[in-house]
């Protein structure tokens, strides 16, 4: 289980995150939704220690990981795929994947690179290509596959749909849904594309100006017309 309690963070005088609380249940997809600048990316970056929290706690399977050094989180089983698909463009596909497996969750079995190629056959075809030659969708597959190499129990994804064609988005989301089941993953899915995200999510959290304004089962959120119009834009 992954839980955030009263988490706050600021950029200088600007409070970007203001007492955010939510839990993501094991084996479920929790969507974090909200408009541009709502604080979604900041939330994930604060969890990962890339932004310093000013208050609050983050718990992973009961363990307090607030302010743990960023570099240690993968060994605790938390993987964060940053916004804008953080492939390391100068390395090959295989090297990116190998890198992902170097620092895995403590006590976990190494994952063969071939397993990722089974999940994403397209990557297997391009295994020796340098990552900067990949398409947007391929890059997204690569970063998700690379995160899986660390055998995470919790996967944080920041806007995987950004800039992808709807068909590719639904392909990736279907894959995610499958992974949650087969790998017992807890997924926190940050999205602006609320409609697609809610279609695969079990639970939804809506952020606005750094605060949680709604937290409910995904179907309930999708049915709340007022909320949808106010914050989700569909």
């Amino acid at each position: 289980m992954f839980a955030v309690e009263e988490l706050s963070a600021a950029y200088g005088p600007v409070k970007a995150l203001n007492g955010v609380t939510f839990t993501a249940a094991r084996g479920q997809v929790t969507a974090v939704l909200g408009a541009n600048g709502a604080g979604k990316t900041t939330l994930l970056r604060t969890v990962s220690g890339l932004v310093r929290s000013t208050a609050g706690t983050v718990k992973l399977n009961g363990k307090d990981i607030t302010r743990t050094a960023t570099e240690k989180l993968t060994s605790y089983g938390l993987s964060h795929v940053p916004e804008g698909r953080g492939v390391i463009a100068e390395l090959t596909v295989t090297e990116n994947l190998r890198l992902g497996g170097l620092h895995r969750a403590t006590g976990s079995e190494p994952m063969p690179v071939g397993r990722v190629f089974e999940l994403f056959p397209r990557l297997g075809e391009r295994r020796e290509a340098t990552a900067h030659m990949l398409s947007g969708g391929e890059r997204q597959m690569l970063v998700i596959g690379r995160a899986l190499m660390a055998r995470p129990s919790v996967l944080l994804l920041d806007e995987p749909s950004l800039g992808l064609a709807p068909r590719v988005v639904s392909q990736i989301f279907d894959l995610l849904r499958g992974l949650v089941q087969t790998e017992e993953l807890t997924v926190v899915l940050v999205e602006q594309n609320a409609r697609s995200a809610l279609s695969i999510a079990d639970h939804g959290v809506v952020l606005n100006l750094g605060k949680v304004v709604a937290s409910a089962p995904a179907a309930e959120l999708a049915a709340d017309e007022q909320l949808r119009h106010a914050y989700l834009g569909f």
Binding site: G86, E90, R104
Partner: protein
């Protein structure tokens, strides 16, 4: 013809040493986007350390390894203490900082060891090899230099291409934040990069000093020649640095042999300017444009 052959061989030896030096600069540039103008001074310091050991009757190769280790330690120390605060800051800051370091190391060495010229031994002969009864323009030490540089390069290739540590170092250099998210201790990798670079620089220092006289200024020309060789190769490319070093070594050897020794730096400047203005991303860059 004889002279041409001699000049060429001399240029190759010189080029190998420039290549090692350029490689050291390239390693640092790749990991921290800093040109280390203190590299030559650092190598000079480690060479003096080796000289003191040799004068204390320590065997040459032990002193060689000691110089390498000293370079490694010095590089790590300098990155941690001096360079870390300016990483990612305005680029002029790092330039001025490393120039200041150059002056400090230079002066401290002069104070510690004096400014007089001292002989530096070589492990093998530094007399030209004779074939029949004509001597050709290369010495056993020259051949050794080329071999040592080649071994160092092969070692680096193995490290970066085939080991997990090398993969971590490359990833840290290319994208620090993503590497951290993947669990890589990026700070340590940058320190290691500086340490390795300084060790490579130390090797270059030993090769330059061997069989020659040293004083605290003996590495000064390498501040610029190493830089130019690295820029020829594009600064970002280790292989490019090596080829850049060879090209520069040959060119300067021809200039010295046929035109005049004192014109060498001016010709080097000309080569540098032509490369920067005509092919800013270096002679061998694939595509990615570089802002010079």
């Amino acid at each position: 013809m004889q002279q041409f052959l001699d000049t060429t061989l001399g240029g190759l030896v010189l080029g190998a040493v420039y290549a090692a030096f350029a490689l050291a600069l390239c390693l640092i540039w790749r990991s921290t986007r800093i040109v280390n103008f203190a590299q030559a001074a650092m190598a000079m310091v480690t060479t003096y350390i080796a000289l003191s050991l040799i004068n204390a009757d320590v065997p040459y190769w032990v002193a060689f390894v000691a110089a390498l280790a000293a370079g490694f330690g010095l590089g790590a120390l300098i990155e941690r203490v001096i360079i870390r605060p300016v990483e990612g800051k305005a680029e002029l800051n790092a330039v001025i900082l490393t120039l200041g370091l150059f002056m400090v190391l230079h002066g401290l060495t002069a104070i510690t060891f004096g400014v007089q010229h001292r002989g530096f031994p070589a492990p093998v002969s530094t007399n030209a090899i004779e074939v029949g009864d004509t001597s050709i323009g290369i010495t056993p030490f020259g051949i050794l230099s080329i071999v040592v540089v080649a071994v160092v390069m092969a070692g680096l290739v193995v490290l970066f291409r085939f080991t997990d540590l090398g993969l971590r170092m490359r990833a840290s250099a290319f994208n620090g934040e993503v590497s951290r998210l993947l669990g890589v201790r990026v700070g340590r990798m940058l320190t290691l990069g500086w340490a390795l670079a300084a060790a490579v620089g130390a090797v270059a220092g030993m090769l330059i000093a061997g069989g020659d006289l040293v004083n605290p200024s003996f590495m000064d020309p390498f501040v610029i020649y190493g830089f130019i060789a690295a820029v020829l190769g594009g600064l970002d490319s280790p292989l490019g640095s090596v080829i850049g070093g060879l090209i520069l070594g040959l060119s300067l050897s021809y200039v010295t042999g046929y035109v005049g020794e004192h014109l060498a730096p001016l010709v080097a400047l000309g080569i540098l300017m032509v490369v920067l203005l005509v092919r800013p991303s270096g002679l061998f860059a694939a595509a990615a444009a570089r802002r010079v």
